[in-house]
């Protein structure tokens, strides 16, 4: 988490332009390497090669082992989030109070917790809330951050300076601490979590988009658009946005991993998803005090679930980054 935001210093620089100098990165985030459709006439030849490059990128992705491992794991957790309630072996919320703290066995593969609830069922259904909140928060952050970054990078000047200083100030604190501070002040709820994490991510993403826009701004197609007397909004959202979509896609996948990290951590601290809703972080918080008594399964399995989910998302993010930004 953590934080994570002090980590963007090691993130790869955003891709702008193309390696072969053909012009700015193109419309389709998966088709880097083409002149933008807006710069020249969108001829049939461009369409064909755009599709070809997109296919090439997809082929590279499906050949990369880390990407496939990540995709399979993520898909598994999405299936659990959507259908988990119908195939979990027991009711994840109502346990049998007589069968508490049972060790893993044939009838309870992952054992039962201190309230007699089946740990396997809670692990399966526990993917649900985090897989709803994390993508929504990341989506919100990406949308707002992209808009702010475009305005910052395109207009520059006072707006850029003021926003830049605020971003610096918020980022002097780890994401988890900022989220923690606000959730404590307003009280935990799903909406608060989405808004707070979305807000912090918006600042981070704005920074990346701003850098990408600064490089785009100097290119000829922007000068051409200005000569055509296009409005600022048109230039930002129709001309520049498609050409910075590569870095934005990478940023989205990387942030999604951090969102899961942050939400799980907040839930563990008691300021995220609230019991009795099955949630991995909250379950660990309520069971780790029994570790010393030897009931390791109540804590270990939700922990492995979180680890597999964040690692999956980050393997995917890293593969997309290395395919798009070479």
């Amino acid at each position: 988490m953590a934080d994570d935001q002090h980590r963007e210093s090691v993130a790869a620089p955003p891709a702008t332009g193309t390696p072969d100098g053909l012009g700015p990165a193109p419309h389709d985030p998966l088709a880097v390497g083409l002149p933008p459709a807006t710069a020249g006439a969108a001829t049939g030849a461009v369409d064909v090669s755009a599709r070809r490059i997109r296919q090439e990128h997809l082929r590279q992705l499906t050949r990369s082992k880390p990407f496939l491992i990540g995709a399979v794991l993520l898909l598994w957790w999405i299936v659990c989030a959507v259908f988990g309630k119908s195939f979990s072996p027991y009711n994840p919320v109502n346990g049998s109070l007589l069968q508490f703290n049972l060790a893993p066995s044939g009838s309870h593969w992952f054992g039962t917790d201190s309230l007699g609830r089946d740990v396997l069922s809670r692990v399966i259904v526990g993917s649900r809330d985090i897989l709803i909140i994390a993508p929504l928060a990341t989506l919100l952050g990406t949308a707002v951050g992209t808009a702010v970054g475009l305005v910052q990078g395109y207009f520059g000047g006072v707006v850029d300076n003021v926003v830049g200083r605020i971003v610096d100030a918020v980022l002097a604190l780890p994401v988890v601490i900022v989220a923690f501070l606000f959730v404590v002040a307003v009280g935990p709820s799903t909406l608060t979590l989405i808004l707070v994490i979305g807000f912090v991510f918006a600042l981070l993403i704005a920074r990346t988009v701003r850098t990408a826009v600064l490089q785009e701004r100097e290119l000829d197609y922007i000068a051409a658009a200005r000569l055509r007397n296009e409005s600022g909004a048109h230039i930002m959202f129709v001309e520049i946005l498609p050409n910075v979509s590569g870095p934005i896609l990478v940023e989205f996948t990387v942030r999604l991993g951090y969102a899961i990290f942050a939400i799980a951590t907040l839930s563990f601290l008691g300021f995220g998803i609230q019991p009795p809703t099955p949630d991995w972080g909250a379950d660990i918080a309520s069971s780790y005090q029994y570790l010393a008594a030897g009931y390791w399964w109540e804590t270990l399995f939700p922990a492995l679930a979180i680890a597999s989910l964040v690692v999956a998302v980050n393997l995917i993010a890293d593969s997309i980054e290395s395919v798009l930004i070479q």
Partner: protein, 317 residues
């Protein structure tokens, strides 16, 4: 050079003022009514008003901010709602204990990750590189409490080689204290390893591909001399910056680790202040984390400038 340092310092101060405003807003404006928050829903309105008056929370916001920030500048961090005692008497000892834990983590992670990154770079593209890179990346994304819990299960409960808590019994000698801090430090090490190693690897690869390394190799220097004298000197510079910026993260990660291992540092101080709605304590703790981060990045920038003659000369002009 002096001009650059002054500008950098001014920027850090400006950021600090903005940060204090944000923390103030989150800590005093958002909770609405601190009196009600402390006394709970069943207290009489009379008692709530009386407490609000004592705390001074019904004055105007600029007035409250001014009192708070001037107090801090004069070393008065306010009075804890929970303990009715000065915040500073809790904050500074806690910060000291956290720095001890952070120091143990740093002593482990810095050499380990630099060696890891350099080894990965020297074996670029081979299995060793991929294992170090992918494992480092994966581990760095696993939340501290998750790796912490797994470590407790394995080392404290399974193998029984390390203690479950982080606090050594009072009056223990330093080696015993360090032994208690090893297990809590590992989750922090795992997170940091990936980032620092990645940076060291990138820096080393850049240096390996440079013209001066080719020249050094072509003039017949042994490989290890090339690596020591030409590659490492250039590649480790950016790594210093990363290590310093991670200090901020590290202090943040302590909230989780200290809660998990029951260690009375600044992280647990913030956590308990938050659960008790002890806003002065919470604000001071979070501000302290921000200051540590700003200081660390400032030191990193200055150090980077001092160590890198290229920047030093350009900026001196």
């Amino acid at each position: 050079m002096t001009g650059y340092l002054l500008r950098r310092l001014g920027l850090a101060l400006l950021t600090l003022v903005l940060l204090s405003l944000i923390i103030f807003l989150a800590g005093q404006v958002l909770p609405g009514n601190p009196g009600r928050a402390i006394l709970g829903p069943f207290a009489s309105q009379h008692a709530v008003t009386a407490l609000d008056n004592t705390l001074g929370v019904n004055r105007s916001l600029p007035d409250q901010y001014w009192t708070w920030i001037t107090g801090i500048v004069h070393g008065n961090l306010g009075t804890s709602y929970q303990f009715r005692a000065p915040v500073s008497s809790f904050l500074f000892p806690a910060l000291g204990r956290s720095l001890k834990l952070a120091a143990v983590a740093f002593v482990i992670v810095v050499p380990l990750s630099i060696v890891g990154g350099v080894v990965a770079a020297l074996n670029r593209g081979r299995a060793t590189d991929r294992i170090i890179s992918v494992a480092g990346l994966s581990l760095s994304t696993v939340p501290e409490f998750v790796s912490g819990v797994v470590l407790i299960v394995v080392f404290a409960i399974g193998l029984k080689v390390l203690p479950v808590t982080a606090s050594a019994p009072a009056g223990s000698p330093v080696p015993t204290q360090i032994k208690y801090l090893i297990l809590p430090a590992i989750p922090l090490v795992l997170i940091l390893f990936g980032y620092i190693a990645r940076m060291a690897r990138a820096g080393t690869i850049e240096a390996l591909d440079s013209d001066y390394v080719r020249t050094a190799t072509l003039k017949g220097l042994p490989r290890w001399v090339v690596i020591r004298r030409h590659v490492l000197r250039n590649s480790l510079l950016p790594t210093i910056t990363v290590i310093a910026t991670q200090t901020g993260y590290l202090i943040g990660g302590l909230v989780v680790v200290e809660t998990l291992f029951n260690y009375p540092g600044i992280g647990r101080l913030i956590f308990t202040a938050a659960t008790d709605k002890d806003f002065p304590m919470l604000e001071a703790g979070v501000l302290a984390i921000g200051i540590v981060y700003l200081l660390a990045t400032l030191v990193a920038d200055v150090l980077y400038t001092l160590l890198n003659p290229r920047i030093r000369l350009v900026r001196a002009e």
